[in-house]
Amino acid sequence: MRLKTKQQATFPKHNKSRTHHKQIEKAQTPSIMVYPMSMHLGAPAKPVVAVGDHVKVGTLLGEAQGFISANVLSSVSGEVISIEERNMVNGVLQCVIIKNDAEYIEEPPFPEAGENVDPALVPELIKRAGITGMGGAQFPTNVKMAPPKDKTIDTIILNGAECEPYSTSDLRTMIEYADEIIKGVRVIDELFNVKTIYIGIEDNAKEAGEALGKAIEGYDKVQIKVLEAKYPQGSEKQLIENCTGRQVPAGGLPADIGCIVSNVGTFQQIYRAVRLGKPMVERVTTISGTPIADPKNLLVRLGTPIDDLIDQCGGFQEVPRKVIHGGPMMGKTIKDGAIPISKGTTHITFMTADEVDAEERIDCIRCSECLNVCPVSLQPILISNAYERGDIEKAEQLGAMDCIECGNCSFICPSKIPLLDNIIKAKTAIKQNARAV
């Protein structure tokens, strides 16, 4: 049954038809691999290898620092040829550069892993495997799976609502790895012994629903929620509300209302880490967009530079003007082809000059569409106006910090006002003010 959701949303074109039916293909791995010390949210990892070291698949390159952080592991075997600062998607980061020997010699599996792992060891194994959320935000999964003791987790939600245009990596993962995903769910279920498990997918992902439906046969607490395909259906807070009716309190975490939410692919990695003892070294990424001649869903070793994937997808049939790490609604533009596929790289979107909209901004006509599409019920135009007048305090009172940065307001604005840009700038200013006090 398709679930109509009341949440406010937009309906950008899906643009998934060029890849949604294409089976996942193993990508070729180049000779030079790049491992930024942060493929996660939180503190960057600290390099623990030196130039000249020989590494294997699964060797620890960077160790997690602090509470919210994740390990960075090698996805190839070879030699560390450099440790240098490079410009990555989220700014300058230390990167370990490895020359791939194309042998793919693996580290031995984690000895504790197996069918009867002590649940208390699960977060530790996840941490060792370097797993982060795979939906884009790259939140360290071990932190998510070890909520404070006073929180009771009664619900697990698998996020398979892939609402960003062009992306079909979750879809293909659900179709082709449904069993492994559900085995990963059982691992987490053993950890929390929850009441209900939801799998949220969009109604344009029918095949995924069928594959998962087969995989959950006999596993009665799992329910597949087929949600209306709209943006941002896959936003964590919205998915929780649509599945459980609960709202994450302002400034809180899903664990505060008893929920653990993670991307479907993350559960596959959990299965591999906890049952097979394997680290997270690869992920499925969609390479798509009009300029790409043969768009694909690729199983890519983490650390593969984007430049090395273009020719594998037929090269360019049209001149690209914009390259987006992620999707066109929330992704970040890049121009450096040495930037690698990271743990949260759901897809890389290429756009032509024609598709890169640069319509001129005009005055607000007060159509109130930005209010109508905001999934968290903000008044984007008022926050934007407050920011442009320099009234940061008012922007904060209007709830700027509650913005989830989905981009719906800027997307819908008929006057092409950069609403999200202004809200993000307001948020930055609010944080600076808070630090200054």
Binding site: P12, K13, P165, K237, V248, P249, A250, G251, G252, D307, D308, I310, G315, F316, V319, P320, R321, K322, V323, P328, M329, M330, G331, T333, I334, K335, D336, T349, V356, D357, A358, E359, R361, I362, D363, R366, S368, L371, N372, P375, V376, S377, L378, Q379, I381, L382, N385, A386, K394, Q397, L398, G399, D402, G407, S410, F411, C413, P414, P418, L420
Partner: protein
């Protein structure tokens, strides 16, 4: 590495860096205004059918006056010229449509200047006008004889009972608000008297030579225009539905469930013109969802009160202006509850302040 076909790399292309989102809904404010202009063609054509080409003549004068005055104002105060957004054309057309049969050209110019300069440009231009310029202009025009007579001649012409009588014996001249079949049922009547136009005639647009505003003559044309705007997703159907529904319910109860009386109210006067083009105006309507619900209900109650009471048979313009004035305060009280919060935000947020205008900056690096 073996030598083969040159590898494709991003470095070979001129790429832009920009903030998300990278795609936009394929529409614009100009496109929205254009849809409203197209919708106004329905009542315009009906107006031509029933009143001849004078409606075109008056509408063209109003549009030219609005566009030129907005352009000149912006030139004089050195603001960016915004006439290309087509909103001045919409205002001009709405003024043309809402002028009564027999209006003189200079009256149209005065009304248009008042609408654009006083009501739209001085408050800050598009989106910042608290009052709907066309409605304000129309009401100013309606009040003109009263102003002239009260302050100059010392008479009170607007008292509708006597006005209706006066008009039955005289042809409406330019200074008097045109009589509509509404006079039959206004001023306290609670049933449709003998001799009134048939409902079907009202629906199609034949108001029996009574005049009325040129664009409001045909209920059919206005309903078509409304349907067009709803299909094009320019207006939220909830707004006209709540407005018409409120007026209809009150009229039904007031007349003791006299369906004909209620329908007479629906099809006469500016009700449908207002419901389609005035109450749905973005700039002077509600901003919040609750505000956009309360606005048409409030305007509906006021319209019914004006029509039932003795003040004026034509309450649409007045009621919209009154709601225009109070809706910003309502909006502040009913700001939407943010996800994860227990209470609505309570902020003194002034929408109407002028804001600096910046272009969408696209960063291009070589």
């Amino acid at each position: 590495m073996t030598t083969e076909k040159k590898k494709t790399t991003l470095a070979d292309y001129d790429l832009v860096l920009d903030n998300s989102p990278h795609i936009f809904e394929k529409w614009s404010s100009q496109w929205i205004m254009l849809q409203v202009i197209i919708a106004m063609m329905f009542p315009l054509i009906a107006g031509i059918y029933f009143f001849g080409l004078q409606i075109v003549y008056l509408t063209v004068i109003a549009v030219i006056t609005c566009v030129v005055s907005e352009y000149l104002y912006e030139k004089i105060v050195r603001k960016r010229v915004t006439v290309t957004d087509l909103s001045a054309v919409v205002t001009g057309m709405l003024i043309g449509l809402s002028m009564p049969n027999g209006t003189q050209w200079f009256s149209v110019i005065i009304v248009s200047l008042f609408a654009i300069i006083v009501l739209k440009m001085i408050p800050g231009g598009i989106g910042k006008n608290r009052f709907n310029p066309a409605v304000g202009g129309r009401v100013m025009y309606l009040m003109a004889p009263w102003i002239v007579n009260t302050f100059i001649a010392g008479e009170d012409l607007i008292t509708t009972a006597s006005q209706a009588e006066a008009i039955t014996t005289a042809t409406p001249d330019d200074l008097v608000a045109a009589a509509t079949p509404l006079y039959y049922i206004a001023s306290g009547a609670s049933e449709v008297p003998e001799g009134a136009q048939t409902l079907m005639n009202l629906f199609l647009g034949n108001q029996g030579g009574w005049g009325g505003s040129l664009g409001e003559t045909s209920a059919l044309a206005l309903l078509l225009a409304m349907a067009f705007l709803i299909v094009r997703r320019i207006i939220n159907p909830k707004i006209p539905a709540l407005y018409i529904g409120t007026v209809a319910s009150i009229m039904l109860v007031y007349s003791g469930f006299d369906f004909e009386y209620m329908m007479y109210h629906m099809f006469s006067g500016a009700l449908l013109l207002g419901a389609t083009f005035m109450i749905t105006d973005y700039a002077s309507g509600g901003l919040t969802s609750v505000g956009r619900t309360l606005f048409p209900i409030g305007a509906g109650i006021l319209t019914a009160a004006f029509r039932i009471g003795y003040f004026s048979p034509e309450g649409v313009g007045f009621s919209i202006l009154i709601m225009n004035a109070i809706i910003p305060f309502i909006d502040k009280l009913v700001m939407p509850k943010i996800y994860g919060h227990k209470k609505r935000p309570m902020v003194e947020a002034d929408y109407n302040l002028t804001e600096p205008l910046k272009k969408r900056d696209v960063l291009t690096e070589k």
